[in-house]
Every structure is written in structure tokens, then in C-alpha cells.
Symmetry: C2
Subunit: 760 residues, 2 copies
């Protein structure tokens, strides 16, 4: 009877997506696990909530205040949690990594660095050595030199590593299977509108935090940056559960999660703007402007919380703070671009190798013994890593050393240059010098470390422990970059009469900074694996703090992306999403010229679409339909003859409504007629009481015509976040396209197995 | 005969948005001036183009290469143009601003600074004075002191200002009326999908560049930052016209324009990341990820081009480079937040005052004398500005001085502190000192300058000359901030035993930096006017280069936005968009509970919808319909009785098709039947030859049901960029909703005059 209502009534109420329930059926409008959410519906429900809140408060000012309070609290919560957690993780990792080698006698909970910093007997030049810090062999046998001590240290190093990794994988297996991996593929999928219950739960948060520390400390070739994003999202989700605004609306929840992801990257690298752009470019799917501001706020405060904990001990926000003293020169773009090519090739190799190995794990016996696999990989890693000083230490320390410019006071082997005896005092701006034996030794060790890292990382990522690949990728790039950098530097020193060096590299000048090459290499390799562009450059820019080096970074990032894209469009996260068959609709353009009619169900030879009629189906028919099919919803038509579409009803809502009606409403029996119209149909009095279900009917289902290009359909699914879409021709219902159909079709168009899309 | 086609045929071709034309009708698919574009159609057309390109090249590699080449060229072109132009503008403005006061005798084309830098006789302490630079009075009469010389200088200053502004307004009037204003409201509208021909044309570019220099040099209270965005977009558009890929597709064109806008802000402030975020937050409407990368690239290279021209003479990328030596303290957040409140109030006052004045200009006689208005405002500005040293100089110089910390060598009046006689040598870290008479004098002058700027800016913005409001807004904030900063500083010096100062401000310490207050004030005022948040903070962060001061900036920006939002949701750009009645659908959420049926045309008492039938309308009927109505398109239905929707045809395409058919196709006369079906209808042989128009029929018009909430409809219009949407109920066509209807409805819901939406 809508047409008879006055215009005012129409404006203010009545016709929302679902009619208001006289008595709300519990759980109507929620989702089951592994289902796709309907963004439009979530958005509409949020407006309903707002309207109700408005009715309660009346005053606009009060609402504004309430929103602001919530808003502030949200930000406060997320950052403090993820920032604090990140700080605790950093401190724990430091301590446990050092525990593999020795212990601090004055206070066993001190890491090597803290132990020696607090000691009075440490001199600046020899700040790594102090009597309080003892290696295991020294502590147990009294000797620190000799083969026996070396072997004992070696043995204990491997044992500790095995112990840590065993503990990590056992905890993951027993308490929280979702805590494994980097979590970014799953978070991308969740943010695109998919339900994975428990993935962002309390247990996952707790176990991931603990096992992340164990996994990183065990010396495996993995990083903590990706998992930190997962941890931050868990914090965000935990926060959501405090407020019905966020916990009851899957759309609102995802806005908070986007901000949390930004905070995660922000604390991982100390790069708040980079974090926001990472969330925008790589993780988020639906990124409205207000999320931008929230993300920025969350990222900043997370970064500042982290700094106040000061886990890096350098009062800096960033993980790898570097300061270079010389600019770069145009001619250096050639090696930078070569590093970009290397990064692209590494990205391709890594993605292909890793995906092949993960597929083998899924399909063969290998997948049945995850604990054994982790133990084996840890054993191999520890045994191969110990002899080489560059792999023995933690990967972030390695990267930090590779990034650094050789100052005058640097004691590292990499800085063993032959000094000019005429040089009187140490300066910041040291001219290029010939490499000493330490540097050549370091080069060999770095080359071995490079091969080791490349191979072992492929097998490590994807095991049943928390593992990120930012740090291993950066390590590979940094090693390659440093090697190239030293080569260019020595070439420039020995051949500064060559044409290419003549213009910018006079003798006695400091013209090549090998640390910069390491940084460019790291960016290239990270870009090749993840296909980040802007966020990558901005993160790296925030590490150095100068616009100076953006051009080299950009050149490398672009080259790396182009090279990697030439071998395959997907980054590692998309590849894992596809491997796991998540229903993720990526942002790439769909350019095939198929039509909606080619994709919709039913196909030509299939039985007709399962539909309900608006006033002639019985409860029994509906129950039969529910039993026989597993569709997520059914279109409601005027009659089977006219095929005119009235609306769409969700399977879950239908089941709940009938169950509730059978329990509470008298007279509803199996042959009661179900009707979706405003008024009950004319039925004889002898028939049982009919059941009105208009309240669960979506009166505005989304439709397209059969001639609509699939390109447009994909665009609509992506932008509006639809779950399904009905196909009509001149008003007649022809079929239905679900998100799964779209994904299947896209896989088919790319010559992939359409059945690899597992969920719906 | 589609159903009989084999599946392969269906997949590969045939049914795109418009059937392929046997013989393309010229101009079909283009838009008229002041019309809204249809994003979905543009996107689909781009895919058609890609497909054709693919057919030509065959090899995927070749296409990749071609795309890359285009892509590189695009970026190269945009930056070099907008970066170079910005550099030239900066240099010209410097010279002409100084020309108002005097001339360089050694080379008249040198600005004051350049003149004295090149002179040998300049000492560092007195670097503003050199014999080569002569004021007009000195040059003409030989005297530089005394009332006569002062009056002569005063007179010539006013005359030059009047001359420059007269020239500017005349050029705009005669050659390019679109060159006036800041251009950002119009660019926002264009990017949201609207056609304003000539707005980004060659003439506009040329005249805007020239008149921008004149307007800024005339000393009016306006800036060049907003117009630089317009200039950059003109460059981008010019670039588009070189490639059919961009010039023929309005959607692709807008992607380039978004990147160009980022480059514009990037060169205006030397803040590439801030530019990208500005484009994302404030200007762009449709911002896919690849636009992010392009914008970043364009912004960066524009910034580097600008730096290589080095117009600021400081080898810095940024306009106002500052370096502070002391951190800020928690207690200072109170004055920062107060500055935020001031910024919000200023924003409200400015927007209300300026809009009221602009409305008066539109509706009264005032609007008929734009030249006179500009002359009058310039005269008043120049007469009032000359006596006050802080208003006489250019606004950017003023801001630069206000931002700066008082170093030991600073000669400015603002740094006239009483030095401690014990202080032996100038250091960077100067403790707080009592203010000298110069500072008190400066405070009075600044207070007067503040009032003057506040009032005059309201009347200046919106006149018929290029005018931006970034710089005047920042000036207002910087003056207020510096005054507050000096007050806090002196309070801290004289009362460092007060509780609030006790903890952080011991005697002899440098605890308050008035320059930082100026910067925070500038950010607050700019935020109040434009309602930028993230981009504002990032731009300011890039000015200082340290994360250190982000918290004060953020506190001020958020406070300012909240205070301003409390008085009215719209920023200055949205307010001007509404004032001018542009069809801009903003990103705010629509929360009213109306339905599609309340908004659609025809309303209840109106005549029925003008439709075409698929096979029973004659050419004459169509021509009559076109003549009698001014709708942009007509739905095509199966028959008037069934009202089943077949498709939608654009008015423009219909006119062109009939015109072409009448000229070229024999037998088409007024009573020929027009048909949109695949096969010609069965008509007697005596009837004239029918005209097939299926090729211009859009077979996939967008439909929603009459029960769809307007919230969802607004969302669909916004996200998919629709031009119109048809409303159906159970398969029957009920009505149509155009973008204009949506905008009218939104205005009505906000209690505004719905007829203020002028265009469609």
C-alpha cells in the first residue's frame, strides 16, 4: 500500500532495504563463516543504526560529541596496542636472538647490546665485548677459543634454534592454526569483504605475537613486518568488538581494519606516511577518505608509541636509520637500474619457486608433517648460517650494516679500507679508498650469504609459523646492492680516468656510497616480490629522510616492477590468494569482451534457476528448496510464467525466519503458503494460516541486463562490493551472477583452472 | 540472432555497449559542453580501443612497449611543463614585485635580491642594500629620505599595482574569461565527470600564466598555489590532446588530469608526497591505483624540474624551508589547539563572508563592473599596504620571515631581542631572551596586518583575476601564530617559576620557538578554509622535513577542522561549487531515508515519461520528441503497453544518426519506421524503408528498483559515475533519475534551494 502513503511518510521511513521487523529475528543479517559480505547492505544497515541513534539523542551536538569520543578512543586504542606490542616484540627478539650465542651474567634478561652498554668496562672502540657477556662455551668450559669451544657454540646455536622453532610450530598447531604465515593475503581477502571467523581473534593475536618472537629468534630466514600487520589488525578487530557500531557491521569493521593495517606497517618500519600508502596501495580494498585520515592518525600514534618504548635504542623512529654524505650522480643510474632488473628477476624466481613449493606442500604428503618440516628447515638454516658471520646474526642487523656508510669510526669488516697515511683526522666525508683484505673477505662471505638466503627463503615462506618476507627480500637486495656498490666504488677508485668516471669522480673525492646501493637493491627486491611502488619508495624515503635519493629508489622500483610484471602480473600476496582459492576480486582491469549472459547461471543446458514465487510457494516447498540446493539466496518472482523479478531473499535469513515462525507463530505448518507481498493472498479459509516474509525480502536486488559487458559487471562487483547480481532481459529474470561466478570466469579467461576458486 | 551464435563468437565480440558501426557516425559518443560524462561508457570505450590496438599489434610485448613509451612521455611532458612554468612564474613574480619599489641599475631584469647578490659591494650583514638597486624616488629625484621621497615611492607603488591589476583583469576579460579565480572548484567538477570546454585550453593556460604573475605582483592579497594547479591541469590537458587514447576518452583524460593536479601542488610547495595526497584527498574524484603511481611520478619530476630552475635561490625544493633547534613540549599543545580554534573560526568567517560577497556580486549591479572592482580593491590594498612593512612586501616573504627561528645573525625587526651581555659568541641554540623595542613595534604592525589581511582577502578571492587562497590563509595564520608564539615566549621568560613552565623551561634555556607557532597557525588557518587534513599535515611536514613537529600540526589541523565543521560542513571549494551550481556529487554520506521512487521523474502529477518503442516509432515522431523535449536521452521499451525496458539511447547520438541517415541513406523519409531490434519489423512493402538504429542503442542501461533507498542510488551514481539511471518495478519501466535529479534531491534534503543546480 505504499502508493497511498503521503509523500512525507515515504520520505521518512518505511522502505529501507529490509522492512523493519516487528520483532527482530535473531541473527538475521549476519554472515556465516567463509562467506562474502554485501557492502551495500552493510552500508544501509549502518544508516539504519545512525537513524536510531539520532532518534534516541535528538540533539545533533550530542551525536557529534559521541562520534568524536568513539573516534578518539578508536585511534588511541589501536596505536597504543600495536605500537606497544611491536616494542615488546622487538625487545624480546633481541634478547632471544642473542640467547642462541650466550648470556648476560649481570642480568640474564639483557640482550648482548644492553648487557655491554650497562657495563662500565666497555670501551667505545670495543663496545661489543664486555666481561658480563659470555658465550655458552666460555660459560660452560671456561674457554672461548679453539675448535672445541667453536663446536660447542655451534651445537648450542643449532639446538636453541631448533628449540625455538619447535616451540613456535607446536604453539601454532595446537592453539591457533591461523597464526601461521604473513597474514597479508588473508587480510587483503577479509578487507575485500569475506568472512574468516577467528582469523583476527584474541587467540590468534596472542599466539602470533609469541610465536613471531620465537620464529624470528630461531634464525629462520623470515621477518616480522608482515605478521606485525596481522597483529595490528587483530588489535583493531579486538577494538571493534568493544563497540556495537563496529562489531555488528562488517563494513564499518573493515574501515577500522584498514587503519590498523596502516598502523602495523608504520610500527614495522617507523614510516607513518609509508604505512598509510601501503594500506592504500597494497592491503585495502575499500578506502574512503575518512579512512585515510584515520589511518594516518593510527599510523602516527603507533609510530610515536613505538618510539617512546625505543626498542632500537637509537631514539629514532625508523628501523634502519641512515645518513649519507654524498649525493648520487647521473651515471650511477645504470647500476641502480641493473639492481632493479635483479630485483625483478629475484621477485619472479621467488614467487614461482615459493608457489611451486607451497602447491607441492598442499598436494603431497609433505603437508601432513608441518612440525617436521619446520624442524628440518630450521636445522638446515642454523647449520649453514652459523659459519658465516653475515648469516649468523639477525637479518635486520645484517641489513642495517649493509645500508650504513663507512664512517671513520666503523669497526666492521666491510669498512676495512686501506687508509691514506696522509689523512690526519677522521672526517665525515672520507674519500674513496682501496679495499683492504677484510672487504674482499666480506665480499666472498656476502656472495655465499646471498645464495643461501635466496634458496632458503623460498622454502621458508609459507611454513606453519608466522613469517614475513619483507626482511628476507630486503636482505637479498641489500647484499646484492652492497656487492655492486663496492665493485663500482673500487672501479671508480682504480680507474678514475675512464670516461664515465671522469666527470664526477676525481681522485680524493668521495663519489660512491656502497650503502646507498644496498638500499636501492633492497627496494628493488622488495618491489619485485610485492609489486609495491609508491608506498615502497615512500617507506624508503622515510628511512633516509631526504628527497635526495628518491630518484634512484624510484628508478629501481619501477624497473623491478616492470621486469617482474613481464614474467607474471601477480605479486606474492595475490599469488598466495589464488593458491588458497580466496574469493578476492583484484583491482586489475578486466578487458575481455564477454557479456553477462555468458557468465550467468543457469547455463544453456542446466536446469532453470531456483526461484520463489511471491504468493504461491508453501513452507514445505521452501524447505525442500533449501535442502536440495546450496545457493546462498533465491530470487523472488511474480509468477513462474511472467518471470518478473520482485526481490531477493537470503538463504540464511529464510532458514532463520521459517525456524522462528515454526516455533513461535501458531498455525504455520508445512503447507502454509509463504507470501512476500504486502497483503496476504486470497486463499480459502480451510487452508492453514499463511506466513508473511516480506520483512526478509530485499526489494532492491541489483540487476543488469544480459547484454551488459562483463567488464562493467566486474567493475560493479568491485566498486559496490556486491555478493550477487541478477540478470534480466527486458524485465524478465534470466539468471544470476555471484562473486564466485565472476572469479571463476576471470580465472577461465586467464587460462587458469576455474575450480581453484574454493569459497563463495 | 544472438542466441543462435556459437559460444566462442559470443565471447569474442558482437555485444559491446554499442554495436559496432558499419560506418562510424562522426561524433557519436562525444559530449556537449556543460554535460555530464558517463564513466561506465567511457571505460567500455577504452576497452574497445585496447582491443582494436591489440588486433593491430598482435604481439603482447609490442603493446607493452607502446604503453610504456606513452606512459614515460606523459610523465615527462607534464612535469617539465608545469615545473618549468612554475619556475618562470616565480622568477617573474619576484622581479615584478620588486619593480613596484625600485629598479636594478646594472640589469633591469634583476629582482632586488638578484641585483644585490651579483653586486660586489654587498656585505653579508647588509645584504639588502646595494648601490645598484635604487628606489624610484632615488632614481628620479636623487633623494631617498624625507617625506617627498616617501610620498613619491608611495605614489609609484600604488600606480604600479593599479597598472598590473588593470592589465591582468583586462587580459582575462578579453582573452580568457575562464582564467579567473583559483580554478580548483571547476577542476574538482571536471574531474568528477563534467564537460567545460575551453576551461583547460591553450588560451586559458597562456592567459592564466601571464595574469597570475601580474595579479600576484600587484600586491593583492592572493596566492599563486591554487592557480598553479589549474595551470598544471591545462598542461595535462594539452598533453592529452596529443594522443587519441586520452583526447577521445573523457575517462582516461581525467586520470591524466588527476596526476597533473598532484604535480601542480607539488611545484607550488615543493612537496611531492603532499601533492599526491592533495590530489587524492581534495581534488580527485575517481582515483584508481595506477593514478596514484602516475601522480607520484608526475609530482616528483615536477618538483625536481622546479629545483633545477632554483627560483627560490636556496637550492631547496620547498617554498618555506625552516629548521628549528628545539623540540616542543606537551604544555605547548594548549596554545597550538587555541591556534586551531582560531583557524577554524577564520575559516568559517572567510567562507561565509566570501560566499556572501560573491553572491552579491552575482546578483547585483556589482558583477557588471569587474574591471572597476579589481581596480578599486587593488587601490585600497596598495594604499593600506604600503605604510606597513609587513604588508608592503610580498606575502610569501612575510610568511617566510614569520616561520623562521631567530638565529644569531638575523637582522629582522622581529628578532630584536635584548642580548645577554655575557653571551660571547653566536650559537644556533640561543636561549630565550626578553623582547626588545623592535619586537614590540613588530607586534603592533603584525596586529594591524592581521586585521587588514583578514578583511581584504574576503573581498579579493573571487574577483575576475587568477587568485589562490593558500598563501593569504597561511599569512593570516602565520601572523596570529607568531603573535601567540612571542607572547608565550615572553611569558615563559618572565615567569619561568609558574607551574606550567617549571618543568621544561629553566632560565637560560631555549624553550619556545615562535616560528613554530607561526607554522602551526598557518596550517590551522589553511585547514579551516580548505578542510584538508592529511595532505595539509604532509605538506607542512615536507616543509620542515622532520617528523618531530607532526603532532602539533595534527592537533591544530584537527581542531581547526572540527571547529570549522561545527559551523558548516563545506570547505571553500565546495561552497564555490554550490554557489556556481556545478553538478558535483560530493563524497559525504547521504543518510536520508528516501527511496528511488521519491526522486525519479515523472512525479505523480506529471505527464508520463518520454519513451521510444523498439519498432513502432517513425522518424517524424522521433524528431518531434527531440524538438519538444530537452532530455539528454530516451528509454526504449518493447511497447507502450508492456513497458518492458530494452535499452537507452542518447539524444545527441539520435540526432546525429538521423541526420546522417537522412543525408546518406536513400529511402529514409519522415514516416520511415525507426527500429532498435536485430531484425527489421514486418511492414508492408508500400511503406518507406525503415531505419535501423540498434547501433546507437545502449543495451545495458543501468536500472534500480523503485524500492531502492536513495542512499544506495547516490552511492551507485558516485562510485560508477553514472549520468542517468532507470527505475523499474517488477520489470516495468517506471521512471528515470538523472544526476541532476540526485543533486536537486540532495539540496532539498539539506533545506537548500534545489533550483540552484544549474547544469545537467
Amino acid at each position: 500500500d505504499r502508493p497511498s502513503a503521503t509523500p512525507t511518510e515515504e520520505m521518512n521511513g518505511a522502505g529501507n532495504l529490509m522492512d523493519f521487523l516487528d520483532e527482530p529475528i535473531p541473527d538475521v543479517g549476519t554472515y556465516e563463516d567463509f562467506h562474502t559480505i554485501d557492502w551495500l547492505r552493510e552500508k544501509s544497515r549502518d544508516t539504519d543504526r545512525h537513524r536510531k541513534v539520532k532518534l534516541q539523542y535528538v540533539s545533533v551536538l550530542l551525536i557529534l560529541k559521541a562520534i568524536m569520543r568513539l573516534y578518539t578512543f578508536l585511534c588511541l586504542y589501536i596505536f597504543s596496542n600495536s605500537g606497544t606490542l611491536a616494542g615488546v616484540i622487538d625487545l624480546a627478539v633481541d634478547w632471544m636472538t642473542d640467547l642462541k650465542e650466550g648470556v648476560c651474567l649481570s642480568a640474564f634478561w639483557y640482550s648482548h647490546e644492553q648487557c655491554c652498554w650497562t657495563s662500565n668496562e666497555t670501551t667505545f672502540a670495543d663496545r661489543d665485548k664486555c666481561p658480563q657477556w659470555q658465550k655458552w662455551a666460555e660459560l660452560m668450559t671456561g674457554y672461548n677459543e679453539g675448535a672445541g669451544a667453536y663446536l660447542l657454540n655451534y651445537f648450542l646455536y643449532v639446538m636453541w634454534a631448533l628449540f625455538f622453532s619447535f616451540l613456535a610450530v607446536s604453539l601454532v598447531r595446537v592453539f591457533a592454526p591461523y597464526a601461521c604465515g604473513s597474514g597479508i593475503p588473508e587480510i587483503k581477502t577479509i578487507l575485500s569483504g569475506f568472512i574468516i571467523r577467528g582469523y583476527l581473534g584474541k587467540w590468534t593475536l596472542l599466539i602470533k605475537t609469541v610465536t613471531l618472537v620465537l620464529a624470528v629468534s630461531s634464525g629462520l630466514s623470515l621477518g616480522k613486518e608482515g605478521p606485525l600487520v596481522h597483529v595490528a589488525c587483530c588489535c583493531g578487530n579486538l577494538f571493534c568488538s568493544l563497540f556495537s557500531k563496529y562489531s555488528k557491521n562488517e563494513g564499518k569493521r573493515r574501515e577500522v581494519l584498514s587503519a590498523a593495517a596502516a598502523a602495523g606497517v608504520s610500527v614495522a618500519f617507523g614510516a607513518p606516511i609509508g604505512g598509510v600508502l601501503f594500506s592504500l596501495e597494497e592491503v585495502s580494498y575499500y578506502f574512503p577518505l575518512k579512512t585515510l585520515w584515520r589511518s594516518f592518525f593510527a599510523a602516527l600514534v603507533a609510530a610515536f608509541t613505538l618510539r617512546s618504548i625505543n626498542p632500537f635504542g637509537n631514539n629514532r623512529l625508523v628501523l634502519f636509520y641512515v645518513e649519507y654524505h654524498t649525493p648520487w650522480y647521473m651515471a650511477e643510474l645504470v647500476p641502480f637500474i641493473l639492481l632493479g632488473v635483479f630485483g625483478g628477476l629475484w621477485g619472479t624466481l621467488f614467487i614461482r619457486g615459493n608457489i611451486a613449493w607451497c602447491r607441492r606442500r598442499k598436494t603431497t604428503q609433505l603437508g601432513k608433517y608441518p612440525v617436521l618440516e619446520v624442524i628440518a628447515v630450521t636445522g638446515i638454516t642454523a647449520i649453514l648460517a652459523f659459519p658465516n658471520p653475515y648469516t649468523r646474526r639477525s637479518t635486520s642487523e645484517l641489513i642495517s650494516e649493509l645500508f650504513n656508510d663507512c664512517g671513520a669510526l666503523e669497526s666492521s669488516q666491510l669498512c676495512d679500507y686501506i687508509n691514506n697515511p696522509n689523512m690526519s683526522r677522521p672526517e665525515d666525508d672520507i674519500p674513496d679508498r682501496p679495499a683492504g683484505p677484510g672487504v674482499y673477505m666480506a665480499l666472498w662471505q656476502l656472495a655465499l650469504a646471498l645464495i643461501f638466503k635466496i634458496v632458503i627463503t623460498i622454502f621458508t615462506f609459507g611454513m606453519k609459523i608466522p613469517s614475513g618476507l619483507f626482511i628476507p627480500s630486503m636482505a637479498v637486495g641489500a647484499i646484492a646492492g652492497r656487492i655492486v656498490g663496492i665493485a663500482v666504488e673500487q672501479m671508480a677508485y682504480h680507474h678514475h680516468d675512464w670516461i664515465i668516471f671522469k666527470n664526477w669522480c676525481r681522485p680524493g673525492a668521495d663519489c660512491v656510497t656502497p650503502g646507498l646501493y644496498a638500499m636501492v637493491g633492497a627496494a628493488a627486491c622488495l618491489g619485485g616480490v610485492t609489486r609495491m611502488t609508491v608506498s615502497l619508495v615512500v617507506i624508503m624515503f622515510e628511512l633516509t629522510g631526504g628527497l635526495e635519493y628518491i630518484v634512484p629508489l624510484m628508478a629501481a622500483a619501477v624497473t623491478s616492477k616492470w621486469v617482474a610484471d613481464a614474467f607474471g602480473k601477480e605479486g606474492i600476496y595475490e599469488a598466495h590468494i589464488r593458491l588458497n582459492g580466496y574469493p578476492y576480486l583484484d583491482q586489475d582491469e578486466f578487458t575481455h569482451r564477454t557479456l553477462a549472459t555468458d557468465v550467468m547461471r543457469p547455463r544453456r543446458n542446466e536446469p532453470p534457476l531456483s526461484v520463489l514465487t511471491q504468493d504461491s510457494t508453501t513452507v514445505e516447498d521452501v524447505e525442500m528448496l533449501i535442502k536440495e540446493t546450496d545457493y546462498n539466496g533465491f530470487p523472488v518472482v511474480m509468477s513462474r510464467e511472467s518471470e518478473r523479478l520482485i526481490g531477493f531473499v537470503q538463504r540464511r535469513d529464510l532458514i532463520l525466519a521459517i525456524k522462528t515462525a515454526r516455533q513461535k507463530q501458531d498455525g504455520v505448518v508445512s503447507n502454509s503458503v509463504v507470501y512476500f507481498t504486502e497483503d496476504a493472498p486470497q486463499i480459502p479459509a480451510s487452508n492453514p494460516q499463511p506466513l508473511k516474509l516480506r520483512r526478509i525480502l530485499n526489494l532492491s536486488p541489483f540487476t543488469v541486463t544480459d547484454h551488459t559487458p562483463m567488464e562493467t559487471v566486474v567493475d560493479i562487483f568491485r566498486k559496490l562490493g556486491l555478493r550477487q547480481c541478477l540478470v534480466t532481459r527486458s524485465g524478465r529474470l534470466l539468471g544470476i551472477i555471484t562473486k564466485k561466478d565472476v572469479l571463476r570466469h576471470m580465472a577461465q579467461m586467464m587460462n587458469q583452472d576455474p575450480e581453484s576458486i574454493m569459497f563463495n
